[in-house]
């Protein structure tokens, strides 16, 4: 529910290992709300979320990067928050995969929107553990190179046995992409 408006009902979504699911829908159809419910940030009015214990990573609209930290420091913090060691090499490798390692020592406030988005996506590249990724507009503000790198990350997670559920207003070329139309469940 958003206010008094029911966003969706009778929704049965299963994320299988190796799957990449594209959650489509008009503005206000509840895509972000569904991701938040699946991530465990919000509670549904009714229904349940069943997880088999696979770790979940959630990328929201907001990048969760502090303006007064450097990109490297911000990413190291997220690594520690995820229970990882946050070795400098690990952080740098993650940034390299998103093509932004040269900005590791730059303050987040000096980065463009696209660079911040790459920095946020770098959280997903900190390790290679297969996870359930819930990504809200992951390609937002990215240029063609950024989209390609992000897509490679997504496909890599799926190939390792993880699962990905993402929203995007732009069409994305990904292998094994399965669309779900949220508007059909309004």
């Amino acid at each position: 529910m958003r206010g008094r408006r029911r966003l969706f009902r009778d929704l049965d979504v299963a994320l299988e290992r190796g799957s990449i699911t594209w959650l489509r829908g008009a503005n206000g159809s509840g895509k972000t709300s569904l991701l938040r419910i699946l991530a465990g940030v919000s509670k549904p009015e009714s229904g349940e979320v069943i997880c088999d214990g696979t770790p979940v990573a959630y990328l929201a609209h907001a990048n969760a990067l502090k303006d007064d930290l450097t990109l490297g420091e911000a990413l190291a913090f997220h690594a520690r928050l995820q229970g990882l060691d946050a070795e400098p090499g690990q952080v740098r490798t993650a940034l390299e995969r998103l093509g932004i390692a040269d900005r590791a020592d730059a303050a987040v406030r000096t980065l463009s929107q696209g660079q911040r988005r790459r920095g946020a996506l770098a959280r997903l590249a900190l390790d290679d553990m297969p996870r359930v990724w819930l990504l809200d507009e992951p390609f937002d503000a990215l240029d063609a190179d950024g989209i390609e790198r992000a897509a490679a990350l997504v496909e890599g997670n799926a190939a390792r046995g993880g699962a990905v559920l993402l929203t995007s207003h732009q069409a994305v070329e990904l292998a094994r992409l399965r669309p779900i139309d949220l508007g059909a469940h309004a």
């Binding site: 465990g40 969760a64 502090k66 928050l81």
Partner: protein
């Protein structure tokens, strides 16, 4: 690295880079407390009498200044959601934030209070007890302030609401803290007051973090 240490380290680093913001509570405390001798007059006996209450109230208000937005920045930029989803217990992460806030805002008040006490012509014993009561009391104010900040997160006029919620809850600490100093001034033992303040600190440290975590989950939902 444990979750609370990661949050503590990050918040201390952020405070070091936002020095003006971090020093605001201390600045307020020094200015507000320093105005009383000017406004009330230089009569020493009067200043010594009002010192415990004035300094404690100023410390309380200064502590409130720093906690009203304790979680707001993290909420706004999405960091708070990531903390909620982290494998570490949210209580642990909250403890790290509140500890960082106390180190940057509460502890400076404890250090500055003796200097302000001299301006109020307080005796050395009274100044010592004042510092001890603030050492015990500012963490209590930090916990209560964090609870108020969590309960009002995302609300309009949240800062004003924090004051309304927290100030009544802080009254016992204020009474025992100021009372301990007044007891010393009167030649009585401050032990009872200090013991009660210590008990309040233990109770708030053991119980309030869980309430803060629950309030944050509700606020973010």
């Amino acid at each position: 690295m444990s979750g609370w240490r990661a949050v503590l380290r990050r918040d201390l680093r952020l405070a070091a880079r936002r020095r003006i913001e971090a020093l605001l509570p201390l600045g307020f405390f020094v200015v507000a407390a320093g105005l009383f001798p000017l406004g009330v007059g230089p009569e020493r006996e009067t200043l010594r009498q009002i010192a415990p209450g004035v300094l404690w109230v100023c410390a309380l208000l200064a502590a409130m200044l720093s906690v009203t937005t304790l979680f707001a920045s993290d909420h706004q930029d999405g960091s708070l959601e990531q903390m909620l989803l982290a494998p570490h217990a949210l209580v642990e992460l909250v403890a790290g934030k509140v500890l960082a806030q106390w180190l940057t805002s509460g502890l400076p008040l404890v250090v500055a209070a003796p200097l302000i006490g001299v301006a109020f012509d307080m005796h050395a014993a009274s100044i010592g007890v004042l510092a001890l009561t603030l050492l015990l009391g500012t963490p209590i104010l930090g916990w209560l302030g964090a609870l108020g900040a969590a309960l009002t997160l995302g609300l309009r006029s949240g800062a004003a609401l924090v004051f309304l919620i927290v100030l009544p809850l802080a009254v016992p600490a204020l009474i025992f803290g100021a009372g301990a100093v007044a007891a010393v001034d009167s030649g009585l033992s401050p032990r009872g007051h200090i013991s009660l303040l210590g008990a309040l600190l233990i109770a708030s440290t053991m119980g309030v973090p869980f309430a803060i975590a629950a309030a944050l989950r509700i606020s973010v939902d």
